[in-house]
């Protein structure tokens, strides 16, 4: 076939499929404006931003913005905190939904099963603004947890002014909010397991624990590894909604995270160039982590994401 007729054929295929190109066009344009145009703005990280001169007109300064933020103590504190919080959330919050899914799956009565699910999914659908509002209501001096702590001899216990207590609160409240919903994906995987495997194991005399380790866990492993990769890829970011609504100056040293620091330092204080540099730095670290995690899971014989 000659080149010309190939092009003609391609043209015909495209024309035949015009409907598909037309319906995807709005998304392509909007994505260009709201995702690709901001990428162009990244050059601000290497510039001394001047409102009058605009992004392109502002003078280049090389890595000066990075140097500047690397010298700010709170940047490293928030960086470290982000990492600690996410690791703790991973250690506590990653296995929890798997366990919960197995627990819910063991309930055979349909009504109880779906009621438990309805209740435990609920917190996921509420914002951190609401959840922190409720947390304050529990912890304030007119709340039941404060009362409980007082009865336990921890008088005037103020979780919200003690760094370590606040750190525990951050991890536990996340556990409270997301464990239920996190279980749904594993439940879907559990339902897909062939019941004959369990019957065969029962006949061989395997008990519940044995069945969990020999059948359940291996069967949901692909789901587990993909979820793990996704979690690791976000280790150095996130948590803005939770932390911003929960924290105060007294506990900045323990629970201020990169995203909240970026908001205060970059947006609220108007340091646009330095803020862009922080954003770029974090994005690059997360991509690296994601690729490493993906590779690691594959090396361990699991299924990667790509």
């Amino acid at each position: 076939m000659s080149g010309k007729s190939k092009i003609k054929k391609l043209g015909r295929t495209i024309w035949k499929n015009r409907f598909f190109y037309i319906i995807i066009a709005p998304a392509v344009v909007l994505l260009f404006i709201f995702a690709y145009k901001p990428m162009y703005g990244i050059i601000l990280a290497f510039k001394d931003y001047n409102f009058r001169l605009g992004i392109w007109g502002s003078p280049w300064v090389g890595f000066a913005n990075f140097k500047e933020i690397f010298e700010v103590d709170q940047f490293w504190i928030s960086f470290r905190n982000t990492f600690i919080i996410n690791i703790l959330k991973l250690v506590v919050g990653f296995p929890a939904p798997i366990l919960l899914a197995v627990m819910i799956n063991a309930v055979r009565t349909k009504f109880i099963r779906s009621t438990v699910q309805t209740i435990l999914y609920l917190p996921h659908f509420l914002s951190w603004v609401v959840i922190t509002g409720i947390i304050f209501a529990l912890l304030d001096s007119d709340g039941p947890i404060y009362e409980l702590l007082t009865k336990l001899g921890l008088e005037n216990a103020n979780v919200l002014s003690d760094g370590n207590a606040a750190l525990a609160l951050v991890v536990l409240s996340d556990l409270w909010k997301e464990t239920g919903w996190g279980a749904i994906i594993y439940l879907a995987a559990l339902v897909g397991i062939n019941p004959e495997l369990y019957d065969a194991a029962s006949i061989d005399g395997a008990n519940t624990v044995r069945k969990f380790f020999s059948i359940t866990l291996p069967c949901i492993m692909p789901t587990v590894s993909i979820m793990l990769i996704l979690r690791v890829g976000g280790l150095v970011g996130g948590n803005f909604d939770q932390i911003y609504n929960l924290y105060n100056e007294l506990i900045y040293d323990r629970i201020d995270v990169i995203d909240t620091f970026l908001y205060r330092y970059g947006v609220a204080a108007g340091r646009f160039a330095q803020g862009t540099a922080i954003g770029l730095f974090i994005n690059l670290i997360n991509i690296t982590l994601l690729l490493i995690a993906n590779k690691a899971v594959r090396l361990c014989g699991g299924e990667g994401m790509y």
């Binding site: 295929t13 495209i14 499929n17 319906i23 601000l44 992004i55 304050f136 007119d142 039941p144």
Partner: protein, 299 residues
């Protein structure tokens, strides 16, 4: 057959299995209580006077019902909750329709086999999941478009979540081809197949994604915090955030001072914000599983 299987399960239970079975039930019951109680407490306290709230710490039942908190948030123009509620309903309804339409169209095109340029288009979308300009370049784009302080800022930029799009796409990829072939033989075009055959058979997945979009938008205070200063244009979630933030004298509120806002007002504001979600979401529950099949995201 099914009954038979359950029976054998029961018969084979040893002492360890029974212990685990009971432990399991008790643990699940405790977890449910831990989730339900805080909501119960907030609802009960929202119907109490500020004085009663201090005395009745556990708040299992109010000493006396009174609704001054609810009256205050809807009548006092400082809180402006009526307007905020209206704004939120408007934003949520419009954005759910707008975002769902764009998401479905994108997913459908990207689910086509042998479409010229599909590989590039797929990359064009997925790339933005992993890399982006970051908060400040995005902020500048919004500012330069003149979207600040307009309700449209809550809608126009939230046109698609690539994640949701991939979920719907994987559903379309698995859509039976014979149905489409049959319709084509009957003379149906691409548009007719999409509108008359594919969409009507995708109800469950579309309902789930619509719920995700709606809840996300209902809870969205962040966009409003960044771009909306006008009292009249606040959505509910942000109006609530401001009430809680101000009552605690947050250091981040620009020009903010500690304001004494009664507990009953705060709690009423929380309840008004969560009740619509609590009412709507259980109806979608049976479809959820289809919406979270991340395992099938891969090609």
């Amino acid at each position: 057959m099914k009954n038979f299987r359950i029976k054998t399960h029961g018969m084979k239970r040893g002492p360890l299995d029974w212990t685990l079975f009971i432990l399991n039930g008790v643990s699940l019951a405790v977890m449910c209580l831990l989730v339900v109680y805080p909501f119960w407490m907030i609802v009960v306290k929202s119907m109490m006077s500020d004085l009663d709230i201090i005395q009745n710490k556990l708040a299992l039942w109010p000493q006396a019902f009174q609704f001054s908190g609810y009256v205050a948030i809807f009548t006092d123009s400082v809180y402006n909750f009526g307007r905020a509620f209206f704004n939120s309903v408007l934003i949520t309804v419009i954005d759910t329709v707008y975002q769902l339409a764009i998401t479905v169209c994108t997913a459908y095109t990207l689910s086509r086999k042998n479409l010229p340029g599909k590989k590039f288009l797929l990359f064009y979308f997925v790339f933005t999941m992993y890399f982006g300009g970051g908060l400040i370049p995005y902020y500048l784009v919004i500012r330069d478009l003149g979207l600040r302080n307009k309700l449209a800022v809550m809608i126009i930029p939230s046109f698609l979540s690539v994640f949701n799009m991939l979920i719907i796409r994987s559903y379309f990829v698995g859509f039976p081809k014979d149905l489409e072939e049959a319709a084509r033989i009957d003379g149906a075009g691409n548009a007719q197949i999409f509108l008359r055959i594919v969409l009507p058979l995708s109800g469950a997945i579309l309902a789930t994604i619509a719920l995700f979009i709606a809840v996300g938008q209902w809870n969205n205070w962040y966009t409003a915090m960044l771009y909306i200063t006008d009292l009249d244009k606040r959505p509910l979630a942000y109006a609530l955030q401001v009430i809680i933030d101000k009552s605690r004298g947050s250091n981040d509120t620009i020009g903010g001072q500690v304001q004494v806002i009664g507990k009953s007002i705060q709690f009423a504001a929380i309840v008004v914000t969560i009740v619509p979600v609590m009412i709507v979401y259980p109806f979608f529950q049976k479809h959820f599983v289809k919406g979270v099949m991340i395992g099938s995201l891969k090609d």
